[in-house]
C-alpha cells in the first residue's frame, strides 16, 4: 500500500471561539501516513484546538480538514475512527482494564473472541498482560497511561491523537514512556499526531515537529533542522537554549552580514534580514561557541566569567560578552584543563554560519 502524502490535511483552517480572536489562523498542514508529527507550542498557542478539531470536538470556523482525502468537518467524532489519548488518561473509572479496552470493540460489534485477541495484543504491546481485571484506580500513573495508549490503538485506527499524554508523569517515567510510545509507533506504523509543550519530548519522539505560536505554525520541520536551523527568533528561543544579540545590520553580502551591536560588531548568517539598516536578533546555540578556539573563526571576542555552574556531564558558564551579561556556554567536563574560573577574562569564538540573524521580535 502506497503511503499517502497528505493523509491528514488542514486547509486554510481558522478557529475562533468568541468571534473576536482567532486562536488558529489560516492553518495549512499536511501529515503523511505513518508519520509521527508533534504539535509543539506554549499554552494558548492553538495546538490543542487543532487536535480537538481533528478529533471532532471542535468545528473549524473556516476551512476544511481532510482525513484520507475525505472532508471530515461534518462527521461526528464517533464516526471518525480516530484513536485518542487524553491528557488525564480519561480511563473509565467504573470499568476494568479489560472493559476499557473492550469498549471501542463492543460499540463496533466485533465478536467476543476476536475482541479478546485484539485486547490481548494491545495489552502485550504496552506490556500489561495480566492487568486486564484491574480497575484503573488500582494502577499507577504510568500503567494508566499505558492502558490509555492501548485503548486508543485496540480498534486499529489509522490515526491516533495524543494530547499531552505524559504531562502528569514524573521525569523518569516520562522519558521511558516517550521511548515506549515511539517504539509502538515504529512497530505498527500508525499515524500519530502528538501535542505537547515539552520540547525535549517533541525532539525525542517526532518525525516532524510543527511549532505553534499565536495560532500559526511557525516552523514545520524535522527535529534536527528545527534545532539547528530555526527560521525565526520565536522558534530559536522556544527550542533549546539560545544566546541572543540585538543589533542592526550594517553590511550584507555573500551569505554573510555584519551586525552592529551597541559597542561592537559581529558576523552573522542572514536568515530573515535582507538589507542594511534592518533590526535583527542574532541567535547562537551555546554549544556552538568555543573557549580559546584553536581553529580560525570569524568571530572572536573577549568576555568575563560571571558564574560557573556544575552540571555533572558539563559545566555551564555565564559570561558577560559584548554587553550581554546572559551569554551561556556549555563546556564538556572532559576539557578540565581550560582556565575557567570566576572573574577570568577569556576568548570566545564562533563561526558566523552558526550565528543566525533572525527577525528582531
Amino acid at each position: 500500500m502506497s503511503k499517502q502524502k497528505d493523509f491528514v490535511k488542514f486547509e486554510n483552517v481558522d478557529k475562533s471561539y468568541d468571534g473576536k480572536v482567532l486562536v488558529v489562523k489560516n492553518l495549512q498542514l499536511d501529515i503523511a501516513e505513518g508519520e509521527f508529527i508533534t504539535m509543539l507550542g506554549p499554552s494558548g498557542s492553538g495546538k490543542t484546538t487543532c487536535l480537538m478539531m481533528l478529533a471532532g470536538f471542535e468545528t473549524p470556523t473556516n476551512g476544511e480538514i481532510y482525513l484520507g482525502g475525505k472532508a471530515i468537518s461534518s462527521i461526528p467524532p464517533h464516526k471518525r475512527g480516530i484513536g485518542m489519548v487524553f491528557q488525564n488518561y480519561a480511563l473509565f473509572p467504573h470499568m476494568t482494564v479489560y472493559e476499557n479496552l473492550a469498549f471501542p470493540l463492543r460499540v463496533r460489534k466485533i465478536p467476543k473472541d476476536e475482541a479478546d485477541k485484539k485486547i490481548d495484543k494491545a495489552l502485550s504491546m504496552v506490556s500489561l498482560q495480566g492487568f486486564a481485571s484491574r480497575m484503573p484506580g488500582q494502577l499507577s500513573g504510568g500503567q494508566q497511561q499505558r492502558v490509555a495508549v492501548a485503548r486508543s490503538l485496540v480498534f486499529d485506527p489509522q490515526l491516533v491523537l495524543m494530547d499531552e499524554p505524559l504531562g502528569a508523569l514524573d521525569k523518569n517515567l516520562r522519558e521511558s514512556m516517550q521511548y515506549e510510545i515511539k517504539h509502538i509507533h515504529e512497530s505498527i506504523g500508525v499515524t500519530v499526531v502528538y501535542v505537547t509543550h515539552d520540547q525535549s519530548e517533541a525532539l525525542t519522539m517526532s518525525n516532524r515537529i510543527a511549532v505553534f505560536n499565536d495560532g500559526k505554525v511557525q516552523q514545520l520541520s524535522s527535529p534536527d533542522e528545527l534545532y539547528e536551523k530555526p527560521v525565526n527568533s520565536f522558534v530559536a528561543e522556544f527550542i533549546g537554549e539560545n544566546n541572543t544579540f540585538n543589533g542592526e545590520v550594517s553590511d550584507i553580502s555573500d551569505g554573510k552580514c555584519k551586525v552592529k551591536l551597541s559597542n561592537a560588531e559581529i558576523m552573522a548568517n542572514p536568515i530573515s534580514v535582507k538589507s542594511k539598516g534592518e533590526r535583527t536578533k542574532v541567535s547562537l546555540r551555546p554549544e556552538r561557541a568555543l573557549i580559546n578556539p584553536k581553529e580560525k573563526m570569524d568571530n572572536i571576542h573577549n568576555g568575563k566569567i560571571e558564574e560557573v555552574i556544575y552540571h555533572g556531564d558539563h559545566t555551564r558558564v555565564r559570561i558577560n560578552l559584548l554587553g550581554n551579561p546572559e551569554f551561556i556556554l556549555k563546556v564538556p567536563n572532559s576539557s578540565a584543563n581550560l582556565d575557567i574560573k570566576l572573574g577570568n577574562e577569556i576568548k570566545i569564538g564562533w563561526n558566523s554560519a552558526d550565528a543566525r540573524a533572525l527577525d528582531p521580535k
Binding site: 478529533a55 471532532g56 470536538f57 461526528p76 467524532p77 464517533h78 464516526k79 471518525r80 475512527g81 480516530i82 484513536g83 485518542m84 487524553f86 491528557q87 488525564n88 480519561a90 480511563l91 473509565f92 473509572p93 467504573h94 469498549f103 471501542p104 460499540v107 463496533r108 485503548r151 486508543s152 480498534f155 491523537l161
Partner: protein
C-alpha cells in the same frame, strides 16, 4: 533479629511503647472531653425523648397498675364463664381506690380503646359503688349494668393485664386481636391506615421519580455550564431551598387553587373552560406538585456534586472510541452518576415518606400521608402510644429501604456532596 526484638526505651527509661500509649490515651481523653457536651446534649434532647416516645408505643403499664389486685385474682380465671366473686371483689377494691384518687376516668378511656362501651358503665359503676354493701360484689356490680354481666367485657379487661402490648402496631395495620385472641383485620369500611400507608409509599415513590427526572438535566447543566451561568442557575436552585417551607407551600396554594394563577392561565389560553377549572389542589395532584418542587434541591445537590467530579474528557473519550453520544452517555456518564442518583433518591424518598406540612396544606383528603395521621393522633386524640407506634413503623420502613439500597447498590457508593 536481635535488634528488632530489643525494647526501645525513652530517655527516662520507660519503654517507648508504654509511654506512647500513655500519650495516646491522654489525647483520647482530651478529644472525648471536647465532644462530651455535644454528646450529652444529644442524649438528653434526642436519644432520650425519642426513646421514651417509642417506648410508649408498647408500654401498657397504666391499666396494669390501676387494677393490680384484679389481674392477680384473674390469674386463676379460665376466661370461659363469668369470673367468680374473688375477681369481682378485687376489682371493687381497685376501683374504690381509683375513685378516691379520681383516676377512674383514665381507666374508662383506656378500657374503651380495647372495647367500646366501657365509658358509660364505669360512670354508672362509680355512682352505684358508693351505696355498695360489703360482700357479694359480683351480684352488686352485675346489677349496675347488663354489660357488667357480659363475659366479653371481663375478657377485655383481662387483655389489658400484660405490661407490654403490640396492639397499637396491629391497629396501625388495621388489625386487632379479637375475642378469641386471634389477629384479624378490621371490617373493610373501617380500614383507613392501610390506604394511607400505600398512598404514602406511592406519593413518595412518584415524587422521587419526578424529582430525578427533573433534577438530572438541571444538575448536568449546573456541572457543565460556564461558571457565570452555572452560578446563576445554582442560585435559582438554592433560593427556594432557603425560603421557608410554609411560604413555598402557601405559594403553591395561590398558584394551584381553582381561581389561582395556573388555572387563570389555562383558561386564558383556552385550554380549559372557565366553568370547568380543574382541581389541582386538595388532592394528590397538589401533593405531587408541591412536594416535587420542594424536594427538588435534595436531588439536584447530590447529583451536581457527583457530576462535577466527572471529567468532561470521559465523554469525549467515549465518543472518540466510537460510541454514539447516547452510548457514551449510557455506558460512561450515567454509571458514574449512580452514587449521586442513589444519594438523591434515598434522600428524597426518606424525606417524602415522612412529609407533613405540605400534604396537610395542599393535599386535602386524598393527598394526606401517614405523617398527617400521626400528627392527628398526637394533637387531637392524644393517643400518643398509637402515634409513636406508627412513627416507629415509618422509621422501620425507612430502615428497610436503606437496607435494601445497601444490598443493591452499596451504601459506600453513596455521595451526598
Amino acid at each position: 533479629m536481635s535488634s528488632e526484638t530489643k525494647q526501645i526505651l525513652t530517655t527516662d527509661g520507660i519503654p517507648l511503647e508504654v509511654s506512647l500509649k500513655k500519650a495516646e490515651k491522654k489525647n483520647k481523653i482530651k478529644a472525648f472531653l471536647l465532644v462530651a457536651p455535644l454528646l450529652f446534649f444529644l442524649i438528653i434532647t434526642y436519644v432520650f425523648p425519642i426513646g421514651d416516645m417509642l417506648f410508649r408505643s408498647v408500654d401498657d403499664k397504666m391499666v396494669t397498675q390501676m387494677l393490680p389486685k384484679t389481674f392477680k385474682a384473674m390469674e386463676n380465671w379460665d376466661g370461659q364463664e363469668l369470673p367468680d366473686e374473688e375477681v369481682f371483689a378485687a376489682f371493687h377494691e381497685d376501683f374504690v381506690k381509683l375513685v378516691e384518687d379520681k383516676r377512674e376516668g383514665k381507666l374508662s378511656t383506656q378500657l374503651n380503646y380495647t372495647k367500646n362501651g366501657f365509658k358509660s358503665i364505669i360512670k354508672k359503676l362509680r355512682r352505684a359503688s358508693k351505696k355498695f354493701e360489703e360482700g357479694n360484689y359480683k351480684e352488686q356490680i352485675m346489677s349496675v349494668h347488663k354489660r357488667w354481666a357480659d363475659v366479653e367485657y371481663w375478657r377485655a379487661i383481662q387483655r389489658r393485664a400484660p405490661e407490654f402490648t403490640g396492639q397499637k402496631y396491629l391497629k396501625g395495620m388495621d388489625m386487632y386481636v379479637n375475642e378469641e385472641g386471634k389477629i384479624v383485620s378490621v371490617e373493610e369500611d373501617r380500614r383507613i391506615h392501610r390506604v394511607l400507608w400505600l398512598r404514602t409509599l406511592e406519593i413518595a415513590f412518584f415524587v422521587t421519580v419526578f424529582c430525578f427526572l427533573m433534577a438530572y438535566p438541571i444538575a448536568h447543566l449546573l456541572a457543565t455550564l460556564p461558571m457565570k451561568y452555572s452560578n446563576l442557575l445554582m442560585i435559582c436552585v438554592l433560593l427556594p431551598f432557603w425560603t421557608s417551607l410554609l411560604v413555598r407551600t402557601a405559594s403553591w396554594m395561590i398558584l394551584l387553587q381553582q381561581q389561582g394563577i395556573v388555572n387563570d392561565f389555562f383558561v386564558g389560553i383556552g385550554l380549559v373552560a372557565d366553568d370547568n377549572r380543574p382541581e389541582m389542589m386538595y388532592n394528590k395532584t397538589g401533593s405531587y406538585v408541591a412536594m416535587t418542587q420542594i424536594l427538588l434541591p435534595f436531588m439536584v445537590l447530590p447529583l451536581y456534586s457527583v457530576m462535577k467530579t466527572i471529567s468532561p474528557s470521559l465523554m469525549r473519550a467515549g465518543k472518540s472510541l466510537g460510541g454514539t453520544p447516547f452510548v457514551a452517555f449510557w455506558k460512561v456518564y450515567f454509571p458514574l452518576t449512580i452514587p449521586g442518583i442513589g444519594a438523591g433518591c434515598l434522600l428524597v424518598f426518606i424525606l417524602a415518606i415522612g412529609y407533613y406540612i405540605t400534604p396537610a396544606l395542599v393535599g386535602g383528603a386524598s393527598g394526606t400521608l401517614i405523617s398527617n395521621q400521626i400528627a392527628f393522633h398526637m394533637k387531637s386524640t392524644l393517643d400518643w402510644s398509637f402515634a409513636s407506634a406508627m412513627g416507629l413503623m415509618l422509621l422501620s420502613g425507612v430502615l428497610v429501604i436503606y437496607w435494601l439500597y445497601n444490598k443493591i447498590v452499596g451504601i459506600d457508593n453513596i455521595k451526598l456532596g
